[in-house]
C-alpha cells in the first residue's frame, strides 16, 4: 500500500515540475515574440519613411536612378521577408542602399539644405538606432528561449509540444557601418 502512495506522490511531483517548466518555456517564448514585435514596429516605420525620402531626393537628383532602384528593391525585400533571419538580411541591404543614397545626396547642396530632407534623414537615423536597440533585446530573448528548449529535459519533448527554435535577427551583433562608396553623378 505504501508503495502505491510513494509512486502516486512521485507522479504528482513530476507533473508539478513539468508544469512549472512548461510555464517557463511559454514565458520565454512570449518574451521573444514581444521582442520581435518591437523590431517589427521599427522596421515598419523605416519602410514607411523611405518612399517619402526617395521622392524628396528625386526632386533634386532625378537622374540617380540606380540608387533609387536599389533602395526600392531593398525596401520590397524587407516588406516580403517572412523570417527574422531574412528580415535581418534585407534590413542590412537597406542600410547599405540608404548609405549610398545619402552619399549621393552629398553632391547636391540644395538637397542637403532642404528642411524636409534633413528631417527625414534625422528620422531614419533615429529608426536605425532603435532597430539596433530592439535587435539587442530580441536576440537576448531568443538566446534564453533557445537555451531553454535545448537543455534537458525539454530537448526531448520541445518539438512535440510545439516549441520551435527561433532565428536571431542578424547573427553577429550589430552590423558594421555600411560601406559608403561615393558614386559621383555622371
Amino acid at each position: 500500500m505504501i508503495w502505491l502512495w510513494i509512486i502516486l506522490g512521485g507522479l504528482a511531483l513530476l507533473i508539478l515540475l513539468f508544469g512549472l517548466g512548461y510555464n517557463r518555456l511559454v514565458r520565454l517564448r512570449n518574451e521573444a515574440d514581444t521582442g520581435w514585435s518591437n523590431i517589427d514596429v521599427q522596421l515598419q516605420r523605416r519602410t514607411d519613411l523611405i518612399p517619402n525620402l526617395v521622392e524628396t531626393v528625386r526632386g533634386y537628383a532625378a537622374h540617380e536612378r540606380g540608387v533609387f532602384e536599389e533602395v526600392t528593391k531593398a525596401r520590397t525585400a524587407l516588406q516580403q521577408a517572412s523570417t527574422p533571419g531574412a528580415a535581418g538580411e534585407a534590413n542590412d541591404m537597406l542600410t547599405a542602399a540608404l548609405g549610398r543614397l545619402f552619399a549621393v545626396a552629398e553632391a547636391y547642396p540644395d538637397l542637403k539644405a532642404s528642411e524636409n530632407f534633413l528631417r527625414l534623414q534625422d528620422e531614419l537615423t533615429d529608426t536605425e538606432d532603435k532597430i539596433s536597440a530592439a535587435r539587442r533585446y530580441y536576440n537576448s530573448t531568443v538566446m534564453h528561449y533557445n537555451n531553454g528548449i535545448q537543455s534537458l529535459p525539454w530537448v526531448l519533448v520541445a518539438r512535440p509540444l510545439g516549441f520551435q527554435e527561433k532565428e536571431y535577427f542578424s547573427a553577429e551583433g550589430d552590423t558594421a557601418l555600411p560601406q559608403v562608396s561615393f558614386t559621383p553623378a555622371t
Partner: protein, 320 residues
C-alpha cells in the same frame, strides 16, 4: 564572473534581504505584543500596513518633490528623450519612462516609480553638461536597469518598511518606558528588558537592511547597463567621471539618497578598514572604485588613465 551570473547572484541576495525585512517587522510587532499587550502588537501590524499603503500611493509625487525634479518643454528634451527611448527598447520595457530635469550642477541621475509603466528618470543638468553621449547613455542604462529589475519598486518598499519599523519601534519603546507598567504580564522583567533592547536596535537593523539592499542593486544596475548597451567600458568611464567630480547635490535628501546613480551626499572613495569598516555598513552606495573594478573584471578591460575628451551631450545637442 559573467554579467548573467552577477545578475542572478544579486537577485538571490536581495531576496534574502527582503525576507529579513519581513522577519524584522514581525519581531518588532511580536515584542510589542509580548511586552505590552497582544492586541497592541496586532494594532501595530495593521497600522504599519495602512501607513505602508499610504506611502506607496504618494511615493511618486513625494520623490519628485524631494529631488526637485521638474518636467521640461518636450522640444527641448527631444535628443535626451530619444536616448531614453533607445535604451528602454533595448531593455524591452513596454513603455518609455518620462524624463525630468533636476537643475543642479552636480552630475547625477535617479529612477523613481513603483511600476515600469509609471516610472520616470531624473537627470541633473550637471550630468548633461559633463557626460559625452556614450557615457550618458550608460548612466541612462543604469537607471533603466533599476526600472526593469523592479529596483525602484523594491527600494521604495524598503524605504517604507524601514520607516514603518522605526516608527512603530519608537512608539512601542515610549509606551514601554512611560506607560506600559500596568499591562505587563507575569515574568515580565526579562521580556521587558529584551523588548527594550530589541525595540532600540530595530530601527538600526532596518536602516542597515535598506542600505545593503541599495548597494547590491547598484552593482546589478551597472551590470545591467553594460549588458543593455553591450558596452561595459562606457559604464566604467561614466563612473570614473563621476568619481573625478567633487560637487554634491544641493537638495540632497537622505531619504531618497539610494535612488541616485551615485551617492548624492557623502563620498565613498576607498574601502575602510577596522572600526571604520563598520561605518560603511550605513552607506547607500558601494565605493565607485569597487563598482568600476567589478565592471573591469566582467568586461575584461582596463580603464585608460586619461578619460576621453569627447564633447559633452549638452554641447553636442545645443542645450543651454
Amino acid at each position: 564572473m559573467t554579467l548573467q551570473q552577477q545578475i542572478r547572484r544579486n537577485r538571490l541576495k536581495s531576496g534574502i534581504v527582503i525576507f529579513g525585512f519581513v522577519l524584522l517587522l514581525g519581531v518588532v510587532a511580536g515584542l510589542i505584543g509580548a511586552a505590552l499587550d497582544l492586541r497592541l502588537g496586532i494594532v501595530a501590524l495593521v497600522g504599519a500596513g495602512l501607513y505602508a499603503i499610504f506611502a506607496m500611493i504618494s511615493s511618486r509625487a513625494m520623490v519628485a518633490r524631494m529631488t526637485h525634479a521638474v518636467e521640461l518643454d518636450p522640444d527641448q528634451l527631444r535628443p535626451l528623450r530619444r536616448l531614453v527611448e533607445n535604451v528602454s527598447i533595448a531593455a524591452g520595457l513596454p513603455t518609455t519612462p518620462e524624463v525630468r530635469i533636476v537643475d543642479d550642477p552636480s552630475p547625477n541621475a535617479f529612477a523613481a516609480g513603483l511600476r515600469p509603466g509609471t516610472s520616470y528618470l531624473g537627470v541633473t543638468t550637471g550630468l548633461l553638461r559633463v557626460m559625452p553621449k556614450r557615457e550618458l547613455e550608460a548612466v541612462l542604462g543604469h537607471e533603466i536597469s533599476h526600472v526593469r529589475n523592479r529596483d525602484t519598486y523594491l527600494m521604495t518598499m524598503a524605504t517604507i518598511f524601514a520607516g514603518v519599523i522605526a516608527l512603530i519601534a519608537d512608539i512601542g519603546f515610549r509606551m514601554l518606558l512611560y506607560g506600559g507598567g500596568r499591562s505587563r504580564r507575569g515574568g515580565g522583567a526579562l521580556v521587558a528588558v529584551l523588548a527594550v533592547v530589541g525595540l532600540l536596535l530595530a530601527p538600526y537593523a532596518a536602516l542597515l537592511l535598506r542600505m545593503s539592499l541599495s548597494r547590491r542593486r547598484e552593482f546589478l544596475a551597472d551590470a545591467g547597463s553594460a549588458e543593455l548597451l553591450n558596452d561595459a567600458e562606457a559604464m566604467a568611464l561614466a563612473l570614473r567621471r563621476l568619481q573625478l567630480d567633487t560637487t554634491t547635490i544641493a537638495y540632497a535628501d537622505a531619504s531618497v539618497a539610494h535612488l541616485w546613480v551615485e551617492s548624492p551626499t557623502s563620498r565613498v572613495e576607498t574601502e575602510r578598514r577596522g572600526v571604520l569598516a563598520l561605518s560603511s555598513l550605513f552607506d547607500t552606495h558601494p565605493p565607485l572604485e569597487a563598482r568600476i573594478a567589478a565592471l573591469e573584471e566582467s568586461g575584461g578591460f582596463r580603464l585608460p588613465e586619461q578619460l576621453p575628451s569627447d564633447e559633452p551631450f549638452a554641447a553636442e545637442v545645443g542645450l543651454a
